[in-house]
């Protein structure tokens, strides 16, 4: 640990020709890393101790991420329906009155956050449930956004037609990409999707005849409401409610999917591929389903994004966007729906209200991802694993894994 201090310290200096010795930064970095190293050690010991406690109560606690029955999360506030119902009601009420008490700027931000909720939930299927690391998620988002923009530009297709078309196109791309790659080990998928994301962006940037290059496409119409002309404010509010509805739909679908046969297959596949194949689950097909479903949501998100901003260009679809959606999922808790929603609001709304720190945003994302993996791999809200109990046996606590 001590070895790194000089690096952090001396790192901060020159700009060509004029050497700028920033001694003040040096002092700050020195003090900062000194304190941080203590925090670091404390965290490590805390983790170790917690690991030991966990190992006592749960026999196989060293296996990792998705442990249902850790004592630290015994008090699950969200499972208690007594607490859960009023909280849900309050949230619904808040969501309903939100656009009428806040300005349309706030509503806009909220809509953005809701888009990310949707994207996060979509990626959650891929990363959280099926355990496939998709680093090019933004590519499918871009496919959705561009398919609406281009279809509208050339053929004058409306929002409601473009929504399924965008989703289908994304799904098509996902099948084309996923089919060869998903047969391989998981790590390859990460790098191939990363590459795919870059390819899509580069093509959009360079193929001027097709995508209008870096200047993007403007004047994309907002979604219509049975042909009623809406003012800008009304359109914002309308889009907001549309987004709420779509998010609810997404939550419903993801929840049903998670508890379905295929959802359980995804989770099982994430935990142990070999055992899963032995149980007769088609590995490639199951993974492909997850991958494609995730892409469909990204495509829909893209269409809505295009409709909301009325202007898109390739700069909106960089790797950083993928990284942000991924950190939403990681921060919120992989596999957990509520966690992803909270994560999205946290990561999207916090930077909006803390503009002063916007330069440090990505730095914090990176740090968050590392720290979450190290100290709380299950995320803010732990995904509660359905545990099936055998009734009326003496030690009936044996978790029959889903």
């Amino acid at each position: 640990m001590l070895l790194t201090f000089p690096i952090v310290v001396i790192r901060v200096n020159p700009i060509e020709k004029v050497i700028e010795w920033r001694w003040r930064n040096m002092a700050l970095a020195g003090v900062g890393s000194f304190i941080l190293s203590f925090v670091w050690r404390a965290l490590l010991t805390w983790k170790e101790r917690r690991g030991r406690v966990g190992a006592c109560s749960v026999p196989d606690a060293d296996t990792g991420v998705t442990h249902a029955a850790s004592p630290a999360i015994a008090a699950r506030p969200f499972e208690e329906s007594r607490l859960y119902r009023p909280a849900l009601g309050a949230a619904a009420l808040f969501a309903l009155v939100f656009p009428f008490i806040f300005s349309s700027y706030q509503t806009n931000i909220m809509t953005t956050a809701l888009i990310y909720v949707m994207l996060g939930l979509g990626l959650n299927i891929v990363v959280g449930l099926a355990g496939l690391l998709n680093l090019g998620y933004v590519a499918f988002y871009a496919v959705g956004a561009y398919s609406y923009a281009l279809l509208n530009h050339h053929f004058g297709l409306g929002f409601w037609t473009a929504l399924p078309v965008g989703a289908l196109l994304s799904a098509l791309f996902a099948i084309l990409l996923g089919f060869p790659v998903l047969r391989l080990r998981g790590d390859y998928l990460a790098i191939v999707t990363l590459g795919f994301g870059e390819i899509i962006r580069l093509i959009l940037e360079n193929w001027n005849d097709f995508s209008f290059g870096p200047s993007g496409i403007s004047n994309i119409p907002r979604p219509g409401l049975f042909g009623i002309a809406l003012s800008i404010h009304e359109a914002t509010v309308y889009l907001y409610f549309l987004m709420i509805a779509l998010c609810l739909f997404t939550i419903f679908v993801v929840k049903r999917l998670r508890d379905s046969r295929i959802g359980r297959a995804w989770i099982a596949l994430r935990e142990d591929e070999v055992a899963c194949e032995a149980m007769g689950i088609d590995k490639t097909l199951t993974k492909l389903t997850a991958f494609v479903l995730g892409a469909i949501w990204a495509g829909m998100g893209g269409v809505i994004f295009a409709a909301k901003t009325t202007f898109i260009n390739p700069a909106s679809f960089t790797f950083m966007e993928s990284a942000m959606i991924l950190s939403i999922v990681v921060l919120g808790g992989m596999g957990s729906i509520l966690g992803v929603i909270l994560g999205a609001f946290l990561l999207i709304l916090t930077p909006e209200y803390l503009r002063a720190f916007s330069a440090y945003r990505m730095l914090l994302f990176g740090t968050t991802m590392v720290l979450m993996m190290l100290f709380r791999p299950q995320g803010i809200v732990t995904n509660i694993r359905r545990v099936y109990r055998f009734a009326a046996k003496g030690k009936g606590d044996a978790p029959a894994q889903a």
């Binding site: 070895l3 790194t4 690096i7 901060v12 200096n13 020159p14 700009i15 060509e16 020709k17 050497i19 930064n25 670091w40 490590l44 983790k47 060293d62 296996t63 990792g64 991420v65 355990g131 690391l133 680093l135 990409l177 060869p180 790659v181 047969r183 391989l184 998981g186 790590d187 390859y188 990460a190 790098i191 191939v192 990363l194 590459g195 795919f196 870059e198 390819i199 580069l202 360079n206 070999v274 790797f319 950083m320 990284a323 991924l326 950190s327 990681v330 992989m334 330069a359 440090y360 990505m362 730095l363 994302f365 990176g366 740090t367 968050t368 991802m369 590392v370 993996m373 190290l374 791999p377």
Partner: protein, 300 residues
Amino acid sequence: MNYFLELLIGGLTRGSIYALIALGYTMVYGILELINFAHGEIYMIGAFTALIVASVLTMNGMTGVSVLILATVVAVIYASAYGYTVEKIAYQPLRKAPRLSPLISAIGMSIFLQNYVLLAQTSDFLPFPSLIPSLPFMEPYAHIIGSAELIIIVTTAVVTVTLTLLIKFTRLGKAMRATSQDRNMAMLVGVNVNRVISNTFIIGSALAAIGGVLIASHVGRINFSIGFIAGIKAFTAAVLGGIGSIPGAVLGGLVLGWTESFATGYVSSDYEDVFAFCLLVLILIFRPAGLLGRSAAQKV
């Protein structure tokens, strides 16, 4: 014909750099089965350190080869220290975690390092002094191969041979091979696995730093995001050659370099990066074990 030769040499130079970075990926993957996403960032940090040291030295009146050598040495030391630290912080505590965790932590680390340099330095492209001197005896061939290119190619060759010898014949090399075959067994026979892994990261980072210095003084400008694309391409090279194999990484680097060079020379320069990714996807479809790799059965 001259054009062809030019492209050939250009591809060879490019490929050598990819190979240098790919070696780090391959070594880490061989031992930990982990894609070290932060590796490209280490390379970028190496280049930045060299830039800083070189400009400080030049300003204090030093010139010529000594600047190059000093800058490279400092860059290698710094990058190694970074590689070591990254491993200690982001990967070592996750040795026993599920596969996805270190991967995500690696991406986090990569984003962190990128933005760290962005904030500590600048977001602009910085001009990098061309440190490599022009050799007088190369004069007659200068229209085909510049001395910078020659030095890059020779350095890569020397480094690769040294690395191969190191892994074949030294104690450390033996320990590394043992660890990559079976970590628990290596522990049982008295190999300090953690130290071996740290050493692997140090060596890999040092190679990346050498690559960083060389390519930065060849291309002439750097910024905080060069590591990202170089990292992906080097990974492509490593996969192309068969990940985990050292000659494979070099071969993969060269093939990738030539592909890019000829594709940009004869087809179009707009899609330079696209070719690399397409190559990656194609190789994964048709020969997932890589050119020189053996397809291993998955251990249960």
